[in-house]
Structure formats: structure tokens, C-alpha cells
């Protein structure tokens, strides 16, 4: 009997082959996309293997899920192909069967997209496999041209080639690590499913592991196995040697997966550090209680004495109170007038010219951490990313941490779905009280990579060269400068009267008052965003007080107490001014509550503070931070004045005997003039000439401030740590929605 094979449709043959082997059969032919067997090729997965390898072994990775690469091939039992695929992808592989002609067409289609033309001499040698660029090209992950561009970038910025390609979006971080594993002959580890051995974890203290970016995974009699983001260098080994003498073996994992694992393992500790570091190390500086026991006694006694005096000697007591208030008013007005007058026409800020920025060698730039606290504001994220991408700073040297609260089921999924470039890191802060911005920032700071760190709010629009200017500024100022504050202003100043007033106030505060304080070398209450710190010093100071609702102003005082300085820089960040009255009052009540908190914290030991900072700074602190109390007093004086005006009630006249009357009248006429003058001057200094006329309406604005002040003051008694969250995106037509939270005392 002679048997002849009958030509058989290839597709049914391979379908049967798959069935016989118990494997899945797939169709890659796009014209059969309605077919249930049709499998869409994921182009990213397809790039896990190079064209050469795919063509030689007639296989193509078609998808990647749950750590398994699915590879389509007509020959599912090609052992060599299987081994090659497993080794090169660094993942487990699953073969599915597809017809021969499908694989041929898919190979052509997939790799046709890759440019082949090489006008110039190639910079890589795919056969050499010695350098990372060679390996990436050999695997088809990058083209010679892309490597050439990355090498140019490397020459300019000094960043590592692999990092550049990852940040350009050419290579996936996972792909890069797989290639690094090949280059260094290290095993790869997928940390998403790993449960590290507690015995191994015990060997390396958590802060060191965090600092070195390693996670101990397992330990045996001779060897400690660690997940590492990079081959172990001498410094890392030396640091680890302090704690173990076992042999060290590294397994490569992506940097972000190491961070995530560390967060998963130590999230609880991180939160408690973020929450209690200041409280533990400097309990006297923490606003976790509103009043110290001593303060409670003193204020209690004062209140009792005041009431007793009122009962016994009503008129003299009130006269003395009016006199003291007038003196306080007068001192505050004169001091602020002096500061702004000095600053007007001067440039006390650190000046950095455009030429200096242009002359900067990007190779010398350090890594810069940007902390961006977000809460229920998913809608601003795309614009935020765009803004950060617009910063003139090498992407490989940015470490942008988007800080979200665990219970924020709006922002977290939105960010996860965005597939952001690798310098953006989502940090989910575990749910714990107090749920404040400073706690989130402290948490984010724990894994910060940057030499410098800055906080921006989600809607902020910093000058594009701000980071570079800060790097230059830090090299110019004296070594004790730990913080450089950029100026804040508003992009929606012309939206309505409220935003105009707000912009006027900010111009005065950031363009005159703070530079004036800077020149006097006294504590500067920092603004809520765009304050740039030296990371190590910030950590040394236990960073922000999570219990203080104006943690930034408080930190400015603590910096000064520790002997460090703050400088101002002539670079501006634009924010969204609060344009809606209720919202504005909420925000302002928080700021004023925070200022009072700050004043109370640092006045727990007034004499100690005096010894620490000296008389000038002490007085300045009383008049700037303590000056907040003026907003509480204002309504009383306005009421008295108005009442007297209409009734000419003799009792009121008797409260202001000649000396007190002159002081009060001086304050009424000259003081109000001074504050208005300062506001106008601020507009002039900033160049907002159009706004100057609105400064004349400032007294109405002060009225609103007093309203907010009383709200904040009363809240101090029943909800001291409650964070009055500002609602954002009210600037219709001005582009960027989002929050504003810098703070200011202001006139």
C-alpha cells in the first residue's frame, strides 16, 4: 500500500496540532479579527525579543500578563526556542500555536515598523553584547539611532544611558532591567509576588535598605540574596558589610518595584515616622497639642485676672487693654512698613541670570525630588504632568513623587491608568490620622532620591528654569542656607475682585515682605509651595509638622531656630487664586489657625526662644507670626469706631484718653495708609500696575480676613488639626484647575 499525503489547509493542521498537544491555538491574521481564535499582538510584548531571534526561531511574543510571556509559534516544542525565549525575556513563557503563514506575516508586520536605514556609521555593535547599547540594539529594543541620540544626551547630562532611554519612553523599565541582568549576568526577580524571608529582612536595617534601594529576600548558611536595582557597587557592599558577613548575591528588579516592595513591607513604619518623627525627636516643637500645660495655666490666669480687673476697675482695665492693643498695632505696622520700604527698590533675592542658567553644565546637576501632594483631584493630573514635563531639567534627574492618600479612590486609579513616564512615582500614603498635607510630604520624603527637594501644588506653574536657578543659587549662597523660597503669585489675578486682592496681597508678601525679612536675617514664614530644601538637612530637622496646618510657616521658624537660613530667589511659581468667597474663607481660616498654632508652639518657652534666636528675631517673630492676632482685634476696633461715629457715646471716648487716643488715631489714619501703601507698592514692585487701584479697596479685604481669622481661631478649640481643604478649579477660562495653599500673614 502506498500512502500519499493529501495537501491540507494549513490552518486546520495547526489547530489540530494545538489540540493534540493540549495547547491554545491562535490566529494572528488581522483579516480574521472576528475569529474567536484571533489574538491581538501587543507591540510592547513583541519587542521583548529581537527581530533576529524571532525570525531564526520563527516565534513572536504576542502578549505579556501576570509575569508570563505568551509566544506564538508554529512549532511549540522547539526546545531551543523555548530556552532562548525564557533566557532573553527573563520571564516564564507560554507557547501557543499559530499557523506558519501567520507567524511569517506577523514577523514582517511587527518588524517593518522599525527603521533600518543607517545613514551614518552605527554607534552600536549588536554582536558585541558588552555594552548596554549593543544589547538593546541586538534585542531590537532600541535602534542604533536612538542609542546615538541617548549617547548625546548622556554626554550632556551625565545620566546613565539606560535611564535616558527609559525616560524617553524608548525602553520599558522592565526591559532595561532584563538587559542589565544579561549584561551583569545576574538573575531577575519579579517582586510583585515575592514574600521576603523575615530572617533576611532582619539582617539589614530598614533605613539602610531604603537608602541603598535593596531588599533582602532570602538567606541561607552562606549567602544573603538581595533584590537590587543595579549591580552591587563597592559602596553598597561596604555599607551592607557593616551588618552582615554573609556572601551577597544580587537579583535585579526595577527600581519602582523595589520601592513598592519596601512600601508594602514597611508602610506601617513609614507612616509612623511621617506622623511622629518630629513629635519623637523634638516634642516641644510639635503642634500635636494646642497649649502646653504651662501655657494653659498662664493663659488661664491671665483670663481670670482680666475678668477680675474688668469687674473691679472696668474703665481703667479697658483703657490699658486699648493702649496695649494700640502699641501692638503700631509696632506691627511700623515694622512691616520698614521691611517693605527697605525692600522696595532693592533686590534682596539671590539673583541668578539667564546667562548663568545657559552656562550650566547639565552633567553637574543633581537629582531633584518634587513632592506633589494630591487629594481627590484626578482631573488636574494630566496638566500637572504636562507642567512638570515642561521644566527645563534632565528627566533622568527628576524624581517626581505624586503623594496620594490611600482612601483617595479617584486620584490613585487615575494615575495608575495614565502609564506615566518613569520619573513619576505614585506614592500611596497609608490611611492614618492626621490626614494632612505635611504628613503626606513626610511620607514622600522617606524615599526621596534628590539632593534637593521641593513641594509643588498640583496646579502650580513654576518658571521652567526654576530648578536650575535653585541649583545655581545654592552654590552661591552661604552654606547655612537650607531653604530657598521662590515667589508665589497667581495666574488668574484678573478673574474677580477677590483674586485681584489676593494677587495684591501676594505681591506685597512675596516681593516685599519676605525679601525684607530675608535682608534682616530673621525667621521667614515659608510659603506653602515652591520652597526648595537640601534634602538631608530637611530630614535632619524632622521635616514638616503633620499636626500644624501651616507646616511651612512653622518649618521656616524651626529652620531659623536650628541656625539655618532661608533665602529668596527671583523666580516665580504661579498658582490659582481662590476666586470664590466661601472657599477663600475656608482656606484663609486654615492659614490663620496655623499661624496661631505656630505662634503657640514656639511660645511654649518664650525665654528659651529668645536665647535661641536673639532679640531681633524674637521680636520679628512676635510681629509677623504674632501679628496674626491683629485680625482678631480688628473687628473690635472697627465696631468701636463705627459706634462712636454714629452715637458719640461718651463711654467710648473715655476709653481713649489723650495718649491712647493719639496712638489709636495715628494707627487709624497712618496705619491704614501704610498697609494700603504697602499693597500698592507690592503691585508696583511686581509690575501689576493695573491692580494698584484695587489696593485702595483693601479695607474690605481686611474685613474678610477678620471673618476668616475668627473662624480659624474658634476652630482651634474644637478641631485643631482639621485641614480645611480648598476646592480647586474655580478659575474658569484660566487654564489650570487646582488647589492653592501657600500661606501668608500679610497686611
Amino acid at each position: 500500500m502506498e500512502t500519499r499525503t493529501v495537501p491540507e489547509p494549513s490552518r486546520s493542521f495547526y489547530r489540530r496540532l494545538a489540540h493534540h498537544a493540549g495547547l491554545e491555538f491562535v490566529t494572528l491574521d488581522r483579516s480574521r479579527s472576528d475569529d474567536p481564535e484571533f489574538h491581538q499582538i501587543n507591540p510592547l510584548a513583541a519587542r521583548l525579543l529581537s527581530e533576529q531571534i524571532c525570525r531564526y526561531h520563527r516565534m513572536l511574543p504576542v502578549s505579556y500578563a501576570n509575569g508570563v510571556v505568551t509566544i506564538a509559534t508554529p512549532d511549540p516544542f522547539d526546545q531551543v526556542a523555548r530556552e532562548v525565549a525564557t533566557a532573553l525575556t527573563g520571564r516564564s513563557v507560554r507557547f501557543v500555536v499559530t499557523p506558519d503563514e501567520d507567524i511569517e506575516a506577523a514577523l514582517n508586520e511587527t518588524f517593518r515598523a522599525m527603521p533600518h536605514e543607517q545613514a551614518t556609521e552605527p554607534v552600536t555593535d549588536p554582536t558585541a553584547h558588552a555594552r548596554i547599547g549593543d544589547l538593546l540594539v541586538a534585542r531590537g529594543l532600541a535602534t542604533d539611532e536612538q542609542v546615538r541620540a541617548a549617547l548625546d544626551e548622556q554626554a550632556r547630562t551625565g545620566s546613565r544611558l539606560g535611564d535616558i532611554l527609559v525616560h524617553e519612553g524608548i525602553v520599558d523599565e522592565a526591559e532595561l532591567v532584563a538587559v542589565l541582568a544579561e549584561q551583569f549576568q545576574l538573575p531577575l526577580v519579579d517582586l510583585s509576588t515575592v514574600e521576603p524571608d523575615p530572617d533576611a529582612l532582619d539582617l539589614i536595617p530598614e533605613p539602610l535598605a531604603r537608602h541603598l534601594r535593596v531588599v533582602p529576600l532570602a538567606v541561607d548558611d552562606t549567602t544573603l540574596y538581595l533584590a537590587v536595582a543595579d549591580a552591587l557597587d563597592d559602596d553598597t557592599v561596604a555599607a551592607l558589610r557593616e551588618h552582615t558577613h554573609l556572601e551577597l548575591r544580587g537579583c535585579l528588579a526595577t527600581r519602582n518595584s523595589i520601592d513598592e516592595l519596601l512600601q508594602r513591607l514597611h508602610g506601617g513604619e513609614y507612616v509612623s515616622v511621617a506622623r511622629s518623627e518630629l513629635l519623637t525627636r523634638f516634642p516641644e516643637d510639635s503642634a500635636n497639642r494646642v497649649l502646653s500645660a504651662g501655657q494653659a495655666v498662664v493663659f488661664g490666669l491671665l483670663a481670670v485676672a482680666f475678668v477680675a480687673c474688668l469687674v473691679l476697675w472696668l474703665k481703667p482695665t479697658l483703657i490699658v487693654a486699648m493702649a496695649l492693643s494700640s502699641v501692638f498695632y503700631l509696632a506691627t505696622s511700623l515694622y512691616k512698613f520698614k521691611l517693605t520700604y527697605d525692600a522696595l527698590g532693592h533686590r534682596y533675592e539671590v539673583s541668578v541670570t539667564d546667562e548663568e542658567v545657559a552656562a550650566l553644565d547639565e552633567r553637574d546637576l543633581p537629582t531633584y525630588t518634587i513632592l506633589i501632594p494630591l487629594y481627590r483631584e484626578a482631573s488636574v493630573v494630566p496638566r500637572l504632568v504636562e507642567g512638570i514635563e515642561g521644566l527645563d531639567y534632565p528627566k533622568t534627574k527628576l524624581d517626581v513623587r505624586l503623594l496620594c492618600e490611600e482612601d483617595d479612590d479617584e486620584t490613585v486609579p487615575a494615575i495608575e491608568a495614565m502609564n506615566l513616564p518613569p520619573h513619576f512615582k505614585l506614592v500611596v500614603v497609608p490611611d492614618a490620622q492626621p490626614k494632612t498635607k505635611p504628613k503626606a510630604c513626610n511620607y514622600g520624603l522617606l524615599q526621596a532620591d534628590g539632593k534637593y527637594v521641593v513641594i509643588y501644588d498640583a496646579e502650580d506653574r513654576p518658571d521652567p528654569d526654576q530648578l536650575k536657578k535653585i541649583v545655581i543659587a545654592f552654590s552661591k549662597v552661604e552654606p547655612s542656607v537650607t531653604c530657598i523660597q521662590a515667589k508665589l503669585n497667581y495666574f488668574n489675578a484678573d478673574q474677580n475682585l477677590l483674586t485681584r486682592w489676593f494677587a495684591i496681597e501676594y505681591s506685597m508678601h512675596f516681593d516685599l515682605l519676605l525679601p525684607g525679612l530675608d535682608a534682616q536675617d530673621v525667621p521667614i514664614p515659608l510659603g506653602g509651595t515652591s520652597n526648595h530644601f537640601i534634602t538631608d538637612r530637611l530630614i535632619e530637622l524632622a521635616a514638616w509638622d503633620p499636626f500644624n496646618v501651616t507646616e511651612d510657616a512653622d518649618l521656616g521658624i524651626r529652620l531659623h531656630k536650628a541656625g539655618y537660613k532661608t533665602a529668596m530667589i527671583d523666580s516665580t511659581t504661579l498658582e490659582e487664586a481662590n476666586s470664590e468667597l466661601n472657599n477663600w474663607i475656608r482656606q484663609r481660616s486654615r492659614w490663620i489657625k496655623g499661624y496661631i498654632q505656630t505662634w503657640l508652639v514656639h511660645m511654649r518657652h518664650p525665654l528659651r526662644l529668645l536665647r535661641q534666636v536673639g532679640l531681633k528675631s524674637w521680636l520679628s517673630f512676635q510681629l509677623t507670626i504674632g501679628g496674626t492676632f491683629i485680625f482678631l482685634l480688628n473687628p473690635i476696633f472697627w465696631a468701636l469706631t463705627t459706634l462712636f461715629f454714629f452715637t458719640e457715646w461718651g463711654f467710648i471716648r473715655e476709653l481713649f484718653p489723650s495718649v491712647v487716643f493719639y496712638a489709636a488715631a495715628f494707627q487709624l489714619f497712618v496705619g491704614n495708609f501704610v498697609f494700603m501703601y504697602m499693597n500698592v507698592a507690592g503691585c508696583v514692585q511686581r509690575g501689576y500696575f493695573d491692580l494698584a487701584k484695587y489696593a485702595l479697596l483693601s479695607p474690605l479685604y481686611w474685613g474678610l480676613m477678620s471673618l476668616a481669622a475668627w473662624k480659624g481661631f474658634l476652630q482651634l478649640f474644637y478641631a485643631p488639626f482639621y485641614w480645611e481643604k480648598t476646592i480647586h478649579g474655580l478659575d474658569q477660562g484660566h487654564g489650570a484647575p487646582a488647589p492653592a495653599s501657600p500661606r501668608t500673614t500679610a497686611g
Partner: protein, 99 residues
């Protein structure tokens, strides 16, 4: 009929297996997905035809070691058919040339 053909026929009668001649037979290269070429060369077998779930494999011996095929393809039945060893060798050569 040459000697190895007679030998194969006799073996077929003895074992009750089918017999096939492979003169001018060009195997379907796709069938080597079932029986890898290296295994075919080692065991001196040629996959002949796949009918339904049954794969016919020509061999000069009644007991080639095809356990690999059975383990990889649990849902296929392998039928041995006897063929003259010279013809098997020539068929294998033709495949080797074609590759």
C-alpha cells in the same frame, strides 16, 4: 522486491502491523512538528500522514521509541506502519535536503 522490502513485509505479517512503501514519498514537513527531525533521524522513522487524531509513522522496526511524541501530544494516537529501511533512509535524506 528487494531484500529490505521483503524483510519489512515479513515483519508486518508477523506483528500484524500495516506495511507501506515509501518510494518517491516526500513527507509533509509540517508533520515534523509531531516527530522532530532529530528524533526521526535517531529512530529511523518518517511521519507519513495525519488522519483525524491518528498519526501514521513509518518505521523499519516495530518498536521505535516514540514516547516523546506521545508525551507531547497526549491527544494523538501514534500508529506504526512498517516500511523498508532503505526507503525510510531515502525519505529522511530528502527531508534533510529540503531543509
Amino acid at each position: 522486491m528487494n531484500s529490505d522490502a521483503r524483510e519489512a513485509l515479513a515483519l508486518a505479517l508477523e506483528t500484524g502491523l500495516e506495511y507501506t512503501g515509501l518510494r518517491d514519498f516526500v513527507p509533509d514537513p509540517k508533520l515534523f512538528h509531531y516527530v522532530p527531525a532529530t528524533l526521526a533521524a535517531r529512530e529511523r522513522v518518517v511521519p507519513v500522514v495525519l488522519v483525524g487524531d491518528t498519526l501514521k509513522v513509518a518505521s523499519a522496526r516495530p518498536d521505535p521509541d516514540l514516547s516523546l511524541v506521545r508525551s507531547r501530544f497526549p491527544y494523538v494516537t501514534v500508529d506504526i506502519v512498517l516500511a523498508p529501511s532503505g526507503e525510510i533512509n531515502r525519505a529522511l535524506d530528502r527531508i534533510a535536503e529540503g531543509r
